[in-house]
């Protein structure tokens, strides 16, 4: 490094540590809150060191849930959210990879029209067609179902574009060689294309899993029954500052449990995450 004095480096470390403290503080605060008894949480200032109720609070949240939400246990909420996030991630990858395969490796009438039809969905996020989409879901009887939570969100222009981009870099000789060796389109897809796409699929999976896990508007509209809520929606419904019956110790434990799974995915699959972020950036 040029010109970076020892003090410059120390300053850099100091600023980074300060940044991390600021960024992490809200989570730390909620974690600490989740280890205290309900009344201690609502009496400011709350102590900033862990209390003695960790096991008790988490057990109550995980198996019993919040009474003001009909007592749906958090394991059920986590299950719903995991189904939704995995369904969306896998669904998007499957239908995008097949679409991109069709568009790149076949020639047929209407090819580019279909490509544009998929592309334009980028410009139609849920937020701009809320009501009519909701009506479709009601007409199809999909309210309070996993299908309703997943299916409408799995069309993906971004993922299709990404796979198309990647498939275009695959040399024609590879296809030719495969065909000469007698491989049909299924064989080529399964034995050559899929293995080559592995790191792309992993990168996309991390991003899409987080996308699914953090959905808000859609599950808010799609779920009426408390036991079909995702954990984010349920948490929002538990929190009330006017209601004196809000079980704050359960709220805090639920909050930590809602944050943990996607954060673990990001931290443990960091390489795929960073790659996915850079590549899905449209």
């Amino acid at each position: 490094m040029i010109g970076d004095s020892r003090w410059g480096i120390r300053l850099a470390h100091a600023i980074l540590i300060l940044g991390i403290v600021v960024v992490a503080f809200p989570l730390y605060y909620v974690f600490i809150a989740s280890t205290h008894a309900g009344p201690d949480i609502v009496r400011p200032p709350m102590p900033l060191t862990p209390g003695g109720h960790l096991v008790e609070n988490y057990r109550a949240a995980f198996f019993e849930g919040a009474a003001n939400l009909g007592g749906v246990p958090v394991w059920r909420l986590l299950f719903n959210t995991a189904v939704m996030a995995l369904g969306i991630a896998v669904g998007k990858i499957v239908i995008s990879i097949t679409s991109a395969y069709a568009i790149v490796f076949f020639r047929f009438p209407g090819r580019m029209v279909f490509f544009w039809i998929i592309f334009v969905t980028l410009m139609l996020p849920v937020e701009v067609r809320i009501l009519p989409t909701y009506k479709v879901m009601v007409d199809l009887n999909l309210i309070d179902t996993y299908t309703g939570l997943i299916l409408p969100l799995i069309a993906s222009a971004t993922a299709t574009l990404l796979f198309r981009q990647f498939f275009l870099t695959i040399p024609g000789e590879l296809v030719e060689a495969a065909r000469i060796d007698g491989a049909g389109p299924f064989r080529f897809f399964k034995d050559i294309l899929l293995p080559l796409s592995r790191s792309n699929i992993a990168a996309l999976f991390v991003i899409l899993f987080i996308y699914g896990w953090t959905q808000y508007l859609w599950p808010l509209l799609m779920t009426n029954r408390a036991e079909m809520n995702t954990i984010v929606i349920a948490l929002r419904k538990m929190v009330s500052f006017v209601d004196h019956g809000t079980p704050w110790h359960i709220v805090m434990a639920t909050c930590v449990l809602a944050i943990l799974p996607p954060v673990l995915v990001v931290v443990l699959m960091q390489r795929a995450f960073v790659r996915g972020l850079v590549e899905t950036e449209k």
Partner: protein, 294 residues
């Protein structure tokens, strides 16, 4: 592209495309066309009769002071969020490029908020700052600040901006680091040999060369603040106090689902579609130039 080797099947490609096309038709194009249709209709309060009213809904929406307020709120909210998220991420990225030891650890500890749902980000900040039990509200009030984000417009806006920007720091940090790594070292070394100090090198070389990244992030952050922050608003302020934090997306939801004004909500949806098309166009036009450095 025309010279590509392809498979000769005729039916197979349609089968491969069918699932995606079916979903886009049922859940994207049909509802979007309904939104277009409804935006030109008026429905009586019982939903029994609809009449075609042309652009009347649009005229009404655009003349509605509440809507214009919402436009202003969205502009302030988006710009403040984008600016704050960028201003906090840049110094962290610059510092992370300087250090050698602990680089990976710093990165890990800075990127995780990306995985927190916007609504939960909002709630985290609400726990800290709500007037009833938040430790920070307590400290603020103990120091003589009249803190009540549930009643004061500016404080409510500050709170949702902080929550929305907090979540976006990780994203910006990663892209700034990538942008910094793409700057040729020789330029910085040359400037150092010519006697430019660290801050001067940053101002005259690093920052200008980061401009493409910064502009790209500005667009992405604006899109994020426009469309992905519904959860923050819904969880923290519900558009209040009054209508001080009612963004356009929140208003579409509120008018459609809570106030049941179908024509108005549909017209607002169509206007938002226009905004998305515009932002997407900017984003795409821009991406091609993003990779080129001097």
């Amino acid at each position: 592209m025309s010279g590509r080797v392809v498979f000769p099947n005729k039916l197979l490609p349609y089968l491969l495309l069918a699932p995606q096309l079916a979903i886009t038709a049922v859940f994207f194009y049909w509802p979007a066309s309904q939104a277009l249709k409804q935006s030109m209709q008026r429905e009586d309060p019982f939903g029994l009769r609809t009449t075609f009213v042309g652009f009347a809904n649009f005229r009404r929406v655009l003349a509605d002071p509440n809507y214009l307020n919402s436009v202003q709120v969205t502009a302030v909210f988006s710009l403040a969020t984008a600016f704050l998220a960028l201003a906090l991420a840049l110094p962290l990225a610059v510092m992370a490029e300087k250090v050698v030891r602990g680089k990976g650890l710093y990165r890990t500890l800075l990127i995780w908020p990306y995985a927190v749902a916007p609504a939960i980000a909002g709630m985290l900040w609400l726990f800290l700052f709500n007037p009833a039990m938040g430790t920070f509200s307590y400290l603020l009030r103990a120091n003589g600040v009249a803190w009540d984000p549930l009643l004061k417009d500016g404080q409510a806006m500050g709170l949702v901006v902080a929550a929305a920007a907090w979540k976006q720091i990780s994203y910006n940090f990663l892209f700034f680091v990538a942008g910094l790594q793409a700057i040729p070292r020789s330029l910085i070394e040359a400037a150092a040999i010519d006697g430019a100090s660290g801050p001067k090198r940053f101002r005259t070389i690093v920052f200008p060369l980061l401009a493409p990244t910064t502009f790209f992030l500005l667009v992405v952050n604006t899109v994020y603040a426009f469309f992905d922050t519904f959860g923050v608003i819904h969880a923290v302020t519900q558009g209040g106090p009054g209508k001080a934090t009612e963004t356009l997306v929140y208003k579409v939801y509120n008018d459609g689902f809570v106030n049941l004004q179908l024509g108005s909500s549909a017209a607002q949806s169509v206007i938002l579609m226009g905004v998305v098309i515009l932002l997407t166009a900017i984003q795409f036009r821009y991406v091609e130039r993003r990779v080129h450095y001097g």
